[in-house]
């Protein structure tokens, strides 16, 4: 841990009042906690059960060029310390998101990351162009890893070359902060991370879900309508920590770490592995009001450990 981080000029930072803020790929965040894509919708349901303003930034649901109705149910299934899901990118399409969802969400004053998903490089370019022309989008997150849609993102994120091309397709149209969200299903996640950065990514988020299957022993059939689903929750946290640990040391862009975050201790662990910001996914489904408690927990941890800003913790575990 280093104490060399410059103290803000307003002098408001001390060990008793840790400063949780950060500048993430140019986005000003008041704390490092992010709502992950797919568990937050576009915020419209979340306002009924939690406080949007608790987050440092929010990532809206995976958005495609055209509306999608999503996959056949069942779409979710609990597994040990986690769950499988195959929602199938149900969303109203980029135009509606840009025109209606973002302006509404903007009212909360929290930075907005739009997660985009395409079937082709052309679709990724088109999505980049739509959101470049929209107001109120702070960053794009390119989904090269969604395992659920048969023709979807899987292939892009598995292979460094296609990961590069997907990032490039977006970065040609979009000049703002560009996050590429990596899949742990890639044989060489460090290679795909490097390819994403070469393609124009100014930040990396990881990990997306791991592909899994659950079988109903009464019906003798797979539980999910789509057969395979994405595994998330605390069960995948060690995999996520490993990926963040490896990727953050191999690239020079900031990292959003995620996978099984349910408490402030998980946030600290991800930061020590090399994440600058940490996203909450399925934990939010279980305890939607927890983000403000997690941020308070992080603040308390910093106070107790003599940390002026949790950014000091980033990569503390590297060796």
């Amino acid at each position: 841990m280093s104490a060399e981080r410059p103290v803000r000029s307003d002098g408001g930072v001390s060990m008793n009042h840790p400063d949780l803020s950060l500048s993430f790929a140019g986005i000003k965040m008041k704390n490092p906690l992010v709502a992950a894509s797919g568990v937050f919708g576009y915020g419209e349901e979340y306002v009924n059960v939690g406080d949007i303003t608790a987050f440092g930034a929010v990532t809206v649901k995976g958005t495609t060029l055209h509306p999608r109705v999503g996959n056949c149910p069942p779409r979710v299934c609990e597994t040990p310390s986690g769950m499988l899901n195959s929602i199938g990118l149900e969303n109203p399409g980029a135009e509606i998101v840009a025109r209606e969802k973002i302006p509404w969400l903007r009212n909360f004053g929290v930075p907005i990351i739009v997660n985009i998903s395409g079937d082709t490089y052309d679709e990724f370019s088109a999505l980049g162009a739509i959101f470049a022309g929209a107001e109120g989008v702070d960053a794009l997150e390119v989904n090269v890893s969604c395992p659920n849609v048969a023709a979807g993102g899987m292939a892009f994120g598995i292979d460094p070359r296609s990961c590069y091309r997907a990032a490039r397709a977006v970065s040609r149209e979009w000049s703002g902060p560009l996050i590429v969200k990596l899949t742990p299903n890639a044989p060489d996640i460090v290679g795909t991370a490097r390819a994403a950065v070469e393609g124009g990514a100014t930040a990396i988020s990881l990990i997306n879900t791991l592909v899994g299957v659950a079988i109903d022993i009464k019906s003798r059939r797979p539980v999910l309508g789509n057969v395979t689903g994405g595994l998330c929750g605390p069960a995948i946290k060690p995999v996520a920590i490993r990926c963040v640990y490896q990727v953050s040391q191999a690239v020079d862009v900031p990292i959003i770490g995620m996978g099984g975050v349910t408490c402030h201790r998980d946030v600290v662990e991800f930061m020590m592995a090399g994440a600058n910001a940490v996203a909450m996914g399925s934990g939010l489904l279980v305890d939607p009001a927890s983000p403000s408690r997690i941020v308070q927990g992080l603040e308390r941890y910093c106070r107790e450990e003599g940390v002026a800003n949790p950014q000091e913790l980033v990569g503390a575990a590297w060796r």
Binding site: G70, N71, I87, P234, L284, V286, P288, S292
Partner: protein
């Protein structure tokens, strides 16, 4: 009948007051949850968290078998079908659990003579009045709980209420029966299960003056056969203005739907689907729309749906 959200959801520490085994494999627990009890409408549901750890990970959805606002008590009834319900069967009085609710659209009851449009500020569209939706986010963000925009149709006055239940599907209909009776509605309850062993206790509904008819597959209680056959006789005589609400296994709902559709009786069904959050965040609990491409979500569009709006799958008898 008034169908729509009551306005709020709260994450409440609920304390187990009592837990008792009912008929067959059924178990009922009474929980002290004053906030939820004061807000919940019949047919709304709650998400119960079974512990503080990560396993089991997800909350479990339950309809409310009892809603008593004045005593602050809610009832949850279940059969052991998996790990979660098995853990719940070991609940002991005094234990506390996080319960999120009330969630989803419930059914509110107006007296048959009341004007549906006299309650609150509503805009009337044809047969239905819709509550105004105030979606100004400025007053929507708060600490632990938030207002849910009141939504959905408020049905105009009706006559006779027919309830059709199968197995544990009876549980969420009991508060509806009680509220309907207290507002002076005529209520007929048709209830079926495999055998007398597996019937939940419905003496409460009987005591309230509901006309209760039972059916069991093996004839050990009530008439032998399906509850749908039992209900069909009475539904034949229903008026166009009468209303039916059904809750139970999908095959039963399909039969009731085709019956009511043939007789022109408006039917609402309470649906179940695998659920992760219960609050609309994950889009997991999808149910196919009847007339158009796409899906509704049981947690936010339901759990009660107008039967003709949803595809119940394999809809032939």
């Amino acid at each position: 009948m008034e169908i729509g959200m009551s306005g709020k959801a709260v994450d409440e520490r609920a304390q187990v007051l009592s837990i008792e085994a009912g008929n067959g494999r059924s178990i009922r627990a009474l929980l002290s949850a004053p906030q939820i009890a004061s807000m919940a409408r019949p047919m709304q549901f709650v998400m119960v968290r079974l512990g503080n750890g990560s396993d089991p990970f997800l909350r479990r959805p339950f309809g409310l078998s009892l809603i008593n606002a004045s005593s602050g008590i809610i009832g949850v009834t279940w059969e052991v079908v998996g790990r979660g319900t098995e853990m719940m069967s070991n609940w002991e009085p005094g234990q506390e659990f996080s319960v999120l609710g009330p969630l989803g659209n419930g059914i509110g009851v107006l007296s048959p003579t009341a004007d549906a449009c006299s309650e609150g500020s509503k805009r009337v569209t044809g047969r239905y009045a819709y509550a105004d939706i105030n979606d100004d986010p400025k007053d929507a963000s708060s600490k632990n709980w938030n207002r849910v925009s009141p939504r959905g149709p408020y049905l105009a006055r009706r006559g006779h209420l027919f309830l059709i239940a199968g197995g544990t599907g009876l549980a969420p209909l009991l508060p509806l029966a009680a509220e309907a009776r207290s507002k002076g509605w005529q209520v007929s309850l048709f209830y079926g299960a495999r055998s007398s062993e597996s019937l939940l206790d419905c003496s409460g509904a009987e005591a309230l003056g509901c006309d209760v008819r039972l059916a069991t597959d093996d004839g050990t209680a009530g008439s032998r056969g399906f509850v749908t056959d039992l209900a069909s006789l009475s539904l034949e005589g229903a008026q166009k203005s009468d209303l039916a609400v059904a809750c139970g296994p999908a095959p039963m709902l399909r039969v009731v739907k085709s019956l009511c559709s043939r007789l022109g009786v408006e039917l609402w069904v309470s649906l179940e689907e695998r659920m992760a959050c219960g609050t609309g965040l994950c889009k997991g609990c999808a149910v196919k729309k009847a007339d158009s491409e796409g899906y509704y979500h049981v947690c936010t569009d339901g759990p009660v749906f107008r039967a003709r709006d949803v595809d119940l799958g394999g809809e032939t008898r």
